[in-house]
């Protein structure tokens, strides 16, 4: 199988960057998209060129490190999938595949397709935890948690932090990411004590990091590999109001 990659190359954060074309032969349908890029990189090495920088780690859709904009979609043409789960069978012989890094002011490009997502870590830092020290826990079954409550928390907790929601959002809003974490913890009895502080500080950090505001285009929930519902954002808004009144 032969395709043409149009890939964003950018030496460093200050470099301007541009799309470069690469015609690649010898691909198979069974290859994952990242394996196709690996193959291209091997060709580049043999051609004495610098390899393309892109991110990945687990390659099974859970670590959240991979993530590029492929043919106009975050993580490629399918809904709810990571880049590493995309396979070349989703493309046709002779296709042109445009590959760009995540674009957002809060995700500055480091090199080629690699961006800096540490803004997410700093949002987490502002309260995505329950302040209990190791050793301070009561018996696990001491607080029964209704299955529905636990399931809802799990739905939100499934976020892998890949940043596709920000990347696909026209406003580069991190509302889906932030709300998922808030709802996971605030929805559990263990997270109750710090609920108001958590919601107000995490959303405040989201603002400081320069993410935009949510206008409910709904693109994020379509691109989210874990299919996290946009309703989480509405719930976060409710929690924010609640924290204003009671917090």
């Amino acid at each position: 199988m032969k395709v043409t990659f149009k890939i964003w190359r950018q030496e460093g954060p200050k470099d301007k960057g541009a799309i470069r074309d690469y015609e690649v032969e010898g691909l198979t349908e069974d290859m994952s998209f990242l394996e196709a890029l690996d193959h291209l990189n091997e060709l580049l090495v043999l051609n004495n060129e610098k390899v393309i920088a892109y991110e990945y780690d687990c390659r099974e859709g859970i670590c959240g490190q991979c993530g590029v904009f492929i043919n106009g979609r975050a993580h490629g043409p399918h809904d709810n999938m990571t880049t590493c789960q995309l396979h070349m069978r989703s493309f046709k012989e002779g296709d042109t595949i445009v590959v760009e890094p995540w674009r957002a002011a809060s995700f500055p490009v480091i090199k080629d397709l690699v961006v800096d997502r540490s803004a997410f870590d700093r949002i987490i830092e502002q309260g995505a935890y329950i302040s209990a020290k190791t050793g301070a826990a009561p018996e696990a079954n001491a607080i029964p948690i209704p299955k529905e409550m636990s399931d809802r928390a799990m739905d939100a907790a499934a976020c892998i932090g890949c940043g596709a929601c920000v990347a696909t959002c026209k406003n580069s809003s991190a509302a889906l990411f932030t709300s998922a974490k808030i709802n996971h913890l605030n929805g559990l009895p263990q997270g109750y004590a710090e609920q108001h502080k958590r919601v107000s500080e995490m959303t405040y950090q989201m603002e400081i990091e320069g993410f935009g505001s949510c206008t409910f285009t709904g693109a994020c929930e379509v691109e989210c590999p874990e299919g996290i519902s946009i309703i989480n954002i509405a719930e976060m808004n409710a929690r924010l109001t609640k924290s204003r009144i009671f917090g």
């Binding site: 990189n41 090495v45 060129e49 390659r59 099974e60 859709g61 830092e125 209990a132 399931d151 799990m154």
Partner: protein, 636 residues
């Protein structure tokens, strides 16, 4: 040098308590003055870093990924074991200890394994308090399921994302301490050497993966939590970045490497489909709870799975191991699959897989229950293969997975270099020759949260009286220069083949000769072949780009250089062990019906290898079993 495991006195049940009572304590005001480096941010690393910080130490934590949350603990799917006995099915700490030791084919230390089981219950309490959304019954209590090698239900899980959920808790707790300014986090930083001053571990040399800059960090103790090294096989269930370099550097600086050849081959991964493949995706072992494994009774059967009638299916695990059936331990299930595939009964396009069938479970429990239990695994299977496993069976195949081997550690988790600790998968402590499913998250967590923070003080209490190391020390200078030299050496080769080329070569040799079954001749041949690969690598590898930029090829090359040397040690270790135990199956040592033959009188020891200028010297830590009767591991 004599290996001293420092196992405390007393009855098995009292050892850990006795240890804690007797170990030295450090005044809170003094803890502030002590620095600890933690390399790795998975469950073991993040757990250790956050807990040490909570205790008052100043911690620096390093990881090569862009965020601590990517550590490969994230990928464990099925669950975490704990002897809670919530199911009232006869579980206990003792039973769990026994299962783990037996599962590991009696090749681990009793005291360590018992402690693992003992601390499992409080660990579940800990994670629940940290907000992990474990599966619940309608009444609000926690659910359990079974896992391989065990006849009770003691596995806790959060859908198919248990590892991810635990890691999110650990990562969040870590960042809580980052916010409290007690932990300084260094993502995108790879440790490239250990610094040893006067025989004690006192710091590391790190490469900033963005700028390429080499940086020195000094500390009063160094904790390695760098995970497993099964990427030595290239194709494995591990993340692409997982590597053995930190271990290898520590090994070269004097830390003994224990049982390197004990690497687990996981029975339920997705089969390889092409040469270009970079990774074998794991399907959780928990699927074996409800899925039945089979191959056609007829060789090279070309019919579709659903067209093969019931009586023409060979449920070979149920046939060979009636009492454990599909839940036989991993090493046994993997080997049984290999046996069938090698005999020509394999299925799939490359005839390298077996079926994992849910038809009966769906008939019995209904599709919704199966969806609740494994929904995301089925979804993942569909994403990767394009096949709907609710309609036809999955195709699975064995793949390199966990490394039981690692740096030799004593009861305190300290390596043979004073002040250097190894926690989680990177040490050799609890699993023996084979790890039971859902014990990996457990060991990493228990090491990081509960054990290390209670043992490191015993060493640091003395460090308090010494001068704090500084990065100006000549040992740092020397280590940094060595790292710089090796980087320049790789870049200078400028040959004709890519790093991946050599990794594929290494992987093929390792998979062929040092994986599920091994022979003396094969291993001897493999060592020679790997040496050839090593020479070819240093003569003909090509890495483009420079050392002072983000250069993924350079990273890969440095890791591979260490993997190659590690590969030699693994084969050397497998060669010296003239017996079959757990994951280590030597074809010369088997019964007539193909079961492993252990040789307890000669090999009841942990092999611990000392690095000696390119060569390896074997030390033996004898395993004394005071509380358990060694038996032939039978799952029939």
């Amino acid at each position: 040098m004599k290996l001293d495991a420092k196992v405390p006195e007393g009855r098995l049940e009292d050892k850990w308590r006795n240890y804690q009572v007797q170990s030295q304590l450090i005044n809170p005001a003094n803890k502030k003055k002590l620095n600890v480096i933690v390399v790795g941010s998975g469950l073991a690393g993040a757990g250790a870093a956050s807990t040490l910080a909570e205790l008052g130490y100043d911690v620096k934590c390093f990881c090569y990924q862009d965020s601590a949350r990517r550590a490969h603990s994230v990928a464990a799917q099925g669950g975490i074991n704990a002897a809670k006995n919530y199911q009232h099915d006869g579980d206990s700490v003792w039973r769990m200890f026994h299962d783990t030791l037996k599962g590991g084919d009696f090749r681990s230390r009793e005291a360590n394994t018992y402690r693992l089981a003992e601390l499992s219950a409080p660990l579940i309490d800990h994670y629940v308090q940290q907000g992990v959304p474990f599966a619940r019954e309608y009444g609000g209590t926690l659910v359990n399921r079974s896992f391989g090698g065990v006849q009770v239900q003691r596995t806790f899980y959060a859908r198919g994302q248990t590892g991810q959920q635990l890691l999110m808790a650990a990562y969040a707790q870590l960042y809580k301490m980052v916010r409290a300014k007690k932990v300084e986090m260094f993502p995108r930083s790879e440790m490239l050497d250990l610094v040893v001053i006067n025989g004690n571990a006192k710091g590391i040399v790190v490469r900033d993966l963005i700028t390429g800059e080499l940086k020195r960090y000094a500390a009063d103790a160094v904790v390695l939590a760098t995970g497993g090294y099964s990427r030595v096989f290239r194709l494995s269930t591990l993340a692409i970045g997982c590597n053995g370099s930190a271990l290898w550097k520590a090994h070269k600086k004097g830390a003994f490497f224990a049982a390197p050849s004990f690497t687990q081959i996981h029975p339920t991964a997705l089969p390889q489909s092409s040469e270009a493949q970079s990774k074998l995706t794991l399907m959780s072992e928990s699927l074996r709870n409800d899925g039945r494994i089979w191959v056609p009774k007829q060789q090279a059967d070309t019919r579709k799975a659903n067209d093969i009638p019931e009586h023409e299916r060979d449920y070979y695990l149920e046939r060979r191991y009636p009492s454990f059936g599909n839940l036989a331990p991993r090493d046994i299930a993997s080997r049984a699959a290999k046996e069938r595939i090698d005999a020509g009964y394999g299925v799939g396009r490359l005839k390298n897989a077996v079926y994992l069938d849910f038809r009966h479970a769906i008939e019995k429990f209904g599709i919704q229950t199966i969806k609740d239990r494994y929904g995301n695994l089925f979804a993942m299977y569909k994403k990767i293969t394009g096949i709907d496993a609710y309609q036809e069976p999955m195709q699975i195949s064995p793949a390199a997975h966990f490394s039981m081997g690692g740096l030799w550690v004593d009861y305190e988790l300290m390596t043979t270099i004073p002040g250097l600790y190894a926690v989680g998968e990177c040490n050799f402590s609890d699993h023996g020759a084979n790890r039971l499913g859902a014990n990996s998250l457990l060991q990493a967590s228990v090491d990081g949260y509960f054990i290390l923070p209670n043992t490191i003080n015993n060493y640091l209490a003395n460090a308090l009286r010494e001068d704090h190391p500084t990065t100006e020390h000549p040992a740092f200078e020397e280590a940094e220069n060595e790292v710089r030299l090796s980087i320049n050496r790789v870049l200078a080769v400028n040959g004709t083949k890519t790093v991946d080329h050599f990794h594929r070569e290494l992987g093929k040799i390792m998979w062929q000769e040092c994986a599920m079954s091994r022979t003396k001749e094969g291993l001897q041949k493999a060592i020679e072949q790997i040496k050839t690969v090593r020479d070819a690598f240093w003569n003909d590898v090509k890495v483009t780009g420079s050392s002072n930029e983000l250069n993924t090829e350079l990273e890969k090359a440095l890791r591979l250089a260490d993997f190659i040397e590690l590969g030699i040690l693994m084969c050397t270790d497998a060669l010296q062990r003239d017996e079959s135990c757990g994951a280590h199956f030597r074809e010369e040592f088997q019964t007539a019906d193909g079961e492993a033959v252990r040789v307890d009188e000669d090999y009841s020891y942990v092999s611990a290898w000392e690095y000696n200028a390119g060569d390896f010297k074997l030390h033996k830590e004898a395993l004394a079993f005071e509380y358990i009767q060694l038996s032939v591991r039978s799952y029939k």
